[in-house]
């Protein structure tokens, strides 16, 4: 791996989540400057404008469940290109709110059709219609999955969202190649 600046190559990814985990990440405030001393942010919806997930990433925080074809493709790609993958927040760790549509997997049309009908037809005030833009709007997967059901995960960082303090306590040891102790209410409590 060529890493001229000798900094960790750091990425964050936003799959099917509300972006709350990323907002919490931004709540790190002035510690972000310290983080920037140790890492190069090579991919992130809040800190870079790069569209393709790069090669040779050291640490990647992944927010969100795997709910559509794009989520799945990016999850598989980032796993191949990342040394240490962190399941970042309750949606990535458990499926959480985006996975609630799995409750309707047994009904006619399954969870995919149920959630689209609810969102675009039943709740529409005017112009009820399904979105249709092949190749642009990604297809929903029938079952929403937590990240570790799709790719191997190295570290779990639960919380909805995990607080800035918890995020810092989890990633600070990683900067020096150590593994954080994920235990106790401060680090593990869901919700």
């Amino acid at each position: 791996m060529t890493n001229p600046s000798d900094k960790l190559r750091f990425a964050t990814v936003w799959l099917a989540g509300c972006s709350g985990c990323h907002m919490s990440f931004l709540d790190l405030d002035e510690w972000l400057f310290e983080l920037a001393e140790h890492v190069d942010v090579v991919f992130s919806p809040v800190a870079s404008d790069i569209k393709d997930f790069p090669e040779n990433v050291d640490v990647c925080l992944v927010e969100g469940a795997v709910a559509n074809a794009d989520n799945l493709e990016l999850a598989l790609q980032l796993r191949q290109r990342t040394r240490l993958v962190v399941s970042f927040g309750d949606c990535a760790v458990t499926g959480n709110v985006p996975a609630l549509r799995n409750l309707w997997s047994e009904v006619d049309g399954g969870s995919r059709q149920s959630v689209l009908d609810r969102g675009y037809l039943e709740l529409a005030d005017t112009g009820a219609q399904h979105p249709h833009a092949p190749g642009i709007v990604p297809e929903l997967l029938e079952r929403v999955r937590p990240l570790h059901e799709v790719i191997p995960v190295d570290l779990y960082l639960p919380g909805c969202p995990p607080s800035a303090e918890r995020i810092r306590a989890a990633i600070e040891p990683l900067l020096s190649g150590e593994t954080p102790a994920m235990e106790g209410t401060a680090m593990l409590k869901f919700g």
Binding site: A99, L103, H148, C160, E183, G184, T185, L188, G191
Partner: protein
């Protein structure tokens, strides 16, 4: 009163006849996670979190529902017990629909707390997403079966303390559920006195007050024991 002497993780304790292994564990200063157990209610051994090992016996015993006996050597924290406990908690999460983020009991939930205790950072079992019912027919309370872990505390407190026996358990396996009356909407069960004891003792957000929203539930899980002490020993809280 006769006394039994036994050891818990090597610590010697003496407990009165009739005490449970859980009493002995607590007397020894050790801690065991519990979910179905509640002081003041009859133990049922439903949740399997307090399973302990008795040296010389291959069988695991639920500490809450096993009588302490003379000379027992109880182990509470073997690596295998710890692993099984964590698996049991993961299975609870995988079996129902426990979404802490918007639950009425977020921050006041024994299932959420016990997940921390056993070190659960994710579930290794696939979630089942059962499509269960929510019964909001009672004017003050509601029961959301998605969050129910079938601990039967509601069944026991209503039967043993309130004496109304509104709740019971129906069906088996994945179909098993808590029912009101003869499997009626809760609001139609005339036996319900609306005392709220089932709300007080529910370990999760399954039974709650309708005016509570996310993270607003206040449980009062100490009340059965207080009522029991008042009735049996005439010890009143305000004395």
């Amino acid at each position: 009163m006769s006394v039994h002497t036994l050891t818990v993780d090597g610590v010697e304790v003496a407990v009165p006849d009739g005490a449970s292994l859980l009493d002995a564990v607590r007397a020894a200063g050790a801690e065991l996670p519990t979910l179905c157990h509640l002081d003041g209610l009859t133990p049922v051994g439903a949740c399997r979190l307090c399973l302990v090992e008795l040296e010389g016996s291959g069988k695991l015993q639920p500490a809450c529902a096993t009588a302490a006996g003379e000379g027992m050597a109880v182990l509470t924290q073997t690596p295998q017990l710890r692993e099984w406990r964590r698996m049991a908690v993961e299975l609870f999460f995988a079996e129902g629909n426990h979404v802490c983020a918007f639950c009425v009991a977020n921050g006041n939930c024994e299932l959420q707390d016990v997940a921390v205790t056993v070190g659960m950072d994710h579930s290794r079992f696939p979630y089942q997403y059962p499509n269960r019912r929510v019964d909001a027919s009672h004017p003050q309370f509601a029961i959301d079966h998605h969050r129910c872990i079938l601990c039967t505390r509601c069944v026991r407190v209503c039967d043993e303390i309130e004496g109304a026996h509104v709740w019971d358990v129906a069906n088996r396996g994945a179909e098993c559920s808590i029912i009101a009356g003869l499997d009626q909407p809760w609001g139609e069960v005339a036996a319900c006195t609306s005392c709220g004891k089932c709300v007080d003792v529910c370990p999760t957000g399954a039974i709650f007050r309708k005016d509570d929203t996310t993270a607003e539930k206040e449980a009062h899980r100490e009340r059965p024991q207080l009522l029991r002490a008042a009735r049996d020993q005439h010890q009143w809280q305000n004395q």
